[in-house]
């Protein structure tokens, strides 16, 4: 199969630019996850790939062939809709085989595909029901099934698992991933659940306000977010981000800090060095911080709230007006207790005043 390429794709709704100059390539054997907050243009992008929405500028191509002008029915793309879009009058089985009519399969092959999809998605028991007799989760699985029963040029999934409960979701994630691996088609999955994005995507594209902020492997995006938006968006619990300034440089490295703390960070930590006085943001993940010692210390963090998250606790501190989060397995202090939060230097992300990454990628987290 051939790859899917978006070149400078934009979408204008009246005066509102929902998607702006997106460039993306998805290889035939690749799953790309589109991740981003609500309203950032994920669905719109998907619809443009499917041919349900015309592109205002730019082009959508499969294997180098520009299909921008082709209507949806001629693109041979499979799509699972955010709100399922099941055919209300057809049974689950009929819904599932509906798209096969256009593929002209013989009855045996059709049955084989149906059986396979039904078993993978655990829909065997509800094949004769109609959509309104299904639970939300079942509906969603039918929508996914209607997609993966096909052998299209590309797969598009719009929030395919959002309505499933945790156990089922974990299960489905694996199943879908395995099926996609055998089919070898470029796949785009939209989600706003980052765990899903991280686990299902070969690469992740993080979107904001119609544009792409960063594309990369899940690990890459998690470990080295390109900017503060990505840093704050990826990772649960959220990364702690603190405002600070560059206080200058000395032999040991660059001195950064706030009114209440100053740390020296080796030059090697930066791929671009800030100048003295520059506003900075520095961040670290709650899991990388601890109440034990650490190279970088934040003194006088006052515990505001401690949340139990099963095996771990998420501690919310107030550090001179800035929120600091720490994830720990050890016992939580009393509320209002003051503590020193220590952060490992290697876990420190530094961004410039515009939120762009300053620290190098090489430092393992």
């Amino acid at each position: 199969m051939s790859e899917l390429t978006l070149t400078k794709v934009s979408k204008q709704f009246g005066g509102f630019r929902a998607v702006e100059d997106i460039d993306l390539t998805v290889a035939p054997d690749e799953v790309l996850c589109l991740l981003g907050p609500s309203g950032c243009g994920k669905t719109t992008t998907l619809r443009m790939i499917a041919g349900l929405e015309s592109v205002s500028h730019g082009s959508v191509a499969f294997g180098g062939r520009d299909l921008s002008a082709l209507p949806a029915q001629d693109r041979n793309v499979a799509m699972a809709f955010q709100f399922y879009a099941l055919y209300p009058d057809l049974t689950v089985e009929e819904n599932l085989v509906f798209p096969l009519a256009a593929e002209g399969l013989d009855a045996r092959e059709r049955q084989a595909r149906l059986d396979h999809v039904a078993s993978v998605l655990q829909l065997g028991g509800v094949l004769q029901r109609r959509p309104h007799e299904l639970s939300e989760g079942e509906k969603q699985r039918v929508a996914v099934g209607r997609c993966i029963i096909r052998r299209p040029n590309a797969f598009l999934f719009d929030e395919p698992l959002s309505r499933l409960d945790v156990a089922l979701r974990e299960d489905m994630r694996g199943s879908i991933r395995r099926i996609l691996a055998t089919l070898n088609r470029p796949t785009v999955i939209v989600t706003h659940d980052q765990l899903e994005a991280m686990t299902m995507g070969d690469r992740i594209a993080v979107m904001r306000d119609g544009g792409i902020e960063q594309v990369g492997t899940p690990q890459d995006v998690f470990d080295y977010p390109d900017n503060t938006f990505v840093a704050g968006f990826i990772g649960t619990p959220q990364m702690t981000l603190l405002d600070g300034t560059c206080l200058g440089a000395d032999d040991g490295g660059i001195v950064i800090g706030t009114d209440h703390a100053r740390w020296t960070v080796p030059h090697a930590h930066f791929h671009r060095r800030p100048c003295k006085g520059d506003r900075l943001t520095f961040g670290f993940r709650p899991r990388a911080a601890s109440l034990e010692a650490g190279a970088l210390g934040l003194d006088g963090c006052r515990l505001v709230l401690s949340e139990h998250m099963g095996a771990e606790k998420l501690l919310h501190f107030d550090w001179h007006g800035q929120a600091v989060r720490v994830l720990t397995q050890s016992r939580a202090p009393e509320v209002d207790a003051l503590r020193r939060v220590g952060v490992d230097l290697r876990a420190l992300h530094v961004f410039d005043g515009d939120g762009r990454r300053l620290s190098v990628k090489g430092i393992p987290q």
Binding site: G51, S54, S68
Partner: protein, 286 residues
Amino acid sequence: MSFRKHNEGGWGQTLVSGLVAVIYFAPVFWMILTAFKTRQDALAIPPKLIFTPTLENFRSVFVEVTSSGEVVSTGAWLYFANSAFIAGASVLLALIIGTLAAYAFSRYPLKGNDTYLFIILTTRMLPPIVVIIPIFLLFRITGLSGTYIGIILLYTSFNLPFSIWMMKSFFDDLDREVEDSARMDGSSDWAVFGRIVLPQVLAGLAATLVFALILTWNEFIFALLLTGPETRTVPVAIASTIGGSIGVDWGKLSAMITLFLIPVFIVTFALQNQLLRGVTFGTIRK
């Protein structure tokens, strides 16, 4: 744009639909045109599309010349006023009573709910002509014949089944949690109905109103039998233009039809959006 959303057509669609609409509207157009024609033009074949329009027909609706040459009012304005008052009052009444009942049927189901609803519908099933005598009798006994109250009551009861069925389906479709929520917030049941429920079914009310209005506005048989000279409505007056010494007085007839069409047309046009939305909303889950 290289392709359109499914639900949008362009001027091409306008052209096709326009053609169909114009053909469909042609008979009405003809009626209206006739209102501006002299009698000879009205019946001319081949039909005259180009003619000298006259307003004489409209004049004749409102004034006439008596045997002694005096110009007097025909009293038609009274019929129009009657029509407006009677239709308005009975539709409103039916809407109010029907809405309350529909709400009750929807929210406080009685035992045998369906049976009640069915019986209510049944009252609409008989050809009016066969229930005339008993109704007439009843009106005579109660002294309602020829009174506004009588005819309004009658029309109200005609519109009730429709209002109840229609409005019930609207109420059925409402999200009950909203009402629960208001109740939790300390509102009395009446406040819930007035402040929360009614605003949500405005569209349905509009749709019901239009349908009921159309039916009431044009009702003839009972208007003929149960109104007196003072309470007579326009449809009866329209019928009076038929069968005089000149058979059908085409010009006057058309003029009355035209004048009589205008109010419902305006109401329908004004409520058009709600009408579509209302009908959708009310019946989609049936």
